[in-house]
């Protein structure tokens, strides 16, 4: 499956990390880890900036993290208007691993707090697009 399936609307057609979308379809959220030096990346990369290796492997992202910050968007860019309002945030898993995503729609903005325990899960939209979202732990 191509990377055009990623997210509410993808702006990137081709990437060597397109397998990320296949993993989402299998219910997995994967980062990449360098086989040479062990550097971990999320979002995934196919090349290691730390040691210049192109030899990367996939790893399961942790499931437990804390919400470092978030925002609720009441205006949206072109093509996202129907989703408003929606909340987006950054999850900190520790060990220099963080993740940016939308917060699940069933979490009301007033119930979202900085520092709360959260988890992440894959998500399929009604039009077949796939993504991942931040959920209550």
């Amino acid at each position: 499956m191509g990377f055009d399936k990623f997210g509410r609307k993808s702006f990137t057609g081709m990437t060597k990390t397109a397998k990320f979308v296949d993993f989402l379809n299998e219910g997995k959220i994967e980062g990449t880890v360098c086989k040479q030096c062990g550097a971990k990346y999320f979002p995934p990369r196919s090349d290691c900036a730390a040691c210049l290796s192109k030899d990367m492997d996939w790893f399961d992202m942790p499931k437990k993290g804390t919400l470092e910050t978030f925002t609720t968007a009441y205006y949206a860019p072109f093509g996202f208007e129907k989703d408003c309002p929606y909340t987006m945030g950054v999850v900190d898993f520790g060990n220099n691993l963080k993740l940016f995503a939308r917060v699940a729609g069933d979490l009301k903005p007033e119930d979202v707090k900085v520092g709360m325990d959260v988890s992440i899960k894959p998500l399929t939209y009604e039009d077949g697009q796939v993504s991942f979202e931040i959920i209550r732990a």
Binding site: G7, Y74, Y75, P77, L99
Partner: protein, 393 residues
């Protein structure tokens, strides 16, 4: 403090909504003022650098087109881009060319005609200044990114919505008296009253940021003319010297950013370099222009630049220390919030303000006490690029 490269001329168009002319004509407005200010002609210019964010430009490769229109051919010309800090980057390049001995006099011209595209298109394109592969698919936009910083910062440091409002009120105070500003109205607390449906600044855009926390899009141009010491002394009675330059970059993806509550790393990293090069500290700065694309950005800049300790930026606005008469006047031309933010022109406009302040020619906006050192802090993208430039008499 080496006095090797000086600003000998500054210019800026009015910042407006819907400039009635082409980018060539817009560029000419700032260029004309800067050339007349420097008292030189096109023959005296050895090279030109043009700066903008290209996603707004319908003209491909504008440098050659604009150089011709301004009468700067056959001299070398090229284009520099770091989104909202493009013209600061252009000045860094111009400085480097002069310092290297390649050229004596260099024109740096920043421009942006944001109204070439609709506001919605503009919002989407601004989002594309961030990570289009991994973040734009969630529906990101500039206010949302800065709101992430605001949320973390407010939670940790006790910054309130009233503090943010007071940054906007300050910018309104000076926007009113800056005849080049796009937003000429004063701002009152009642404009942020969320219980009043008519309050023009209270509506949430990307919570915790409101309409009034965001700067205005505008069309505009700015021009900075740089010269080496010999030419500066020959042409200019009041050269203003570039004493320090710092520049930094940061990961585009929010997932790779350090602690959000500490503000933009490019701000403090660029500041450290610039202070070191100039051989000064934050205490020596008498007037500053900081990149207040959002109110929160001004508070974070206070700390990144060392005007306040980490987490204490709110005290400066509470004590009115950044007003014209305060301890460290900041954005007393209205800043991006009131003056407007024509992306590629912004850094040059900030520099023009500081040069006029150091020359004592800032009119009603003049900071008292004959300031001798001024600073410009100009950020590109969501802290993707940061530039700090220090000027002295």
């Amino acid at each position: 403090m080496a006095k090797e490269v000086a600003v000998i001329g500054v210019g800026q168009s009015s910042f407006v909504r819907g400039y009635e002319g082409s980018i060539r004509e817009l560029a000419f407005e700032a260029f004309r003022e800067a050339m007349q200010d420097a008292g030189i002609t096109a023959k005296d210019v050895d090279a030109s650098v043009f700066c903008s964010a290209p996603e707004y430009d319908k003209q491909r490769s504008p440098a050659g087109v604009l150089a011709e229109y301004l009468g700067l051919i056959p001299q070398p010309t090229f284009y520099i881009e770091t989104v909202c800090s493009s013209s600061s980057s252009g000045v860094k390049v111009g400085y480097s060319m002069i310092k290297a001995g390649l050229h004596d006099v260099v024109v740096v011209l920043g421009f942006q005609k944001m109204s070439e595209i609709t506001s919605a298109e503009s919002q989407e394109r601004m989002g594309r200044g961030a990570d289009i592969q991994w973040e734009a698919p969630f529906g990101t936009m500039m206010p949302a990114y800065y709101a992430l910083y605001a949320q973390a910062y407010m939670a940790k440091n006790g910054l309130t919505h009233d503090d943010l409002m007071n940054v906007r009120i300050k910018s309104g105070t000076y926007g009113q008296i800056n005849e080049r500003a796009v937003y000429r109205k004063g701002v009152k607390a009642s404009d942020f009253d969320s219980s009043n449906p008519d309050a023009r600044m209270a509506g949430a855009v990307a919570w915790p940021l409101r309409v009034g926390d965001a700067c205005a899009n505008a069309d505009g141009s700015s021009c900075i003319i740089l010269a080496n010491a010999e030419k500066a002394k020959a042409f200019s009675k009041k050269p203003v010297w570039i004493l320090g330059i710092g520049a930094a970059s940061e990961a585009v993806n929010m997932a790779a950013r350090p602690d959000f509550s500490k503000g933009l790393s490019v701000g403090y990293n660029a500041a450290e370099q610039a202070y070191k090069m100039a051989g000064i500290t934050a205490k020596d700065v008498k007037v500053a222009e900081v990149h207040d694309c959002f109110t929160i950005a001004e508070i974070m800049a206070y700390e990144g630049l060392g005007f306040a300790p980490m987490g204490e930026g709110k005290q400066l606005i509470r004590e009115k220390a950044t007003y014209k008469e305060g301890r460290i006047p900041v954005n007393v031309d209205g800043g991006l919030l009131s003056k407007g933010h024509p992306i590629g022109a912004t850094g040059g406009s900030q520099m023009r303000t500081i040069v006029l302040q150091l020359r004592g020619e800032a009119g009603p906006m003049q900071v008292p006490g004959e300031p001798d050192i001024g600073l410009v802090h100009n950020v590109g993208g969501v802290g993707l690029y940061g530039n700090v430039t220090i000027f002295g008499r």
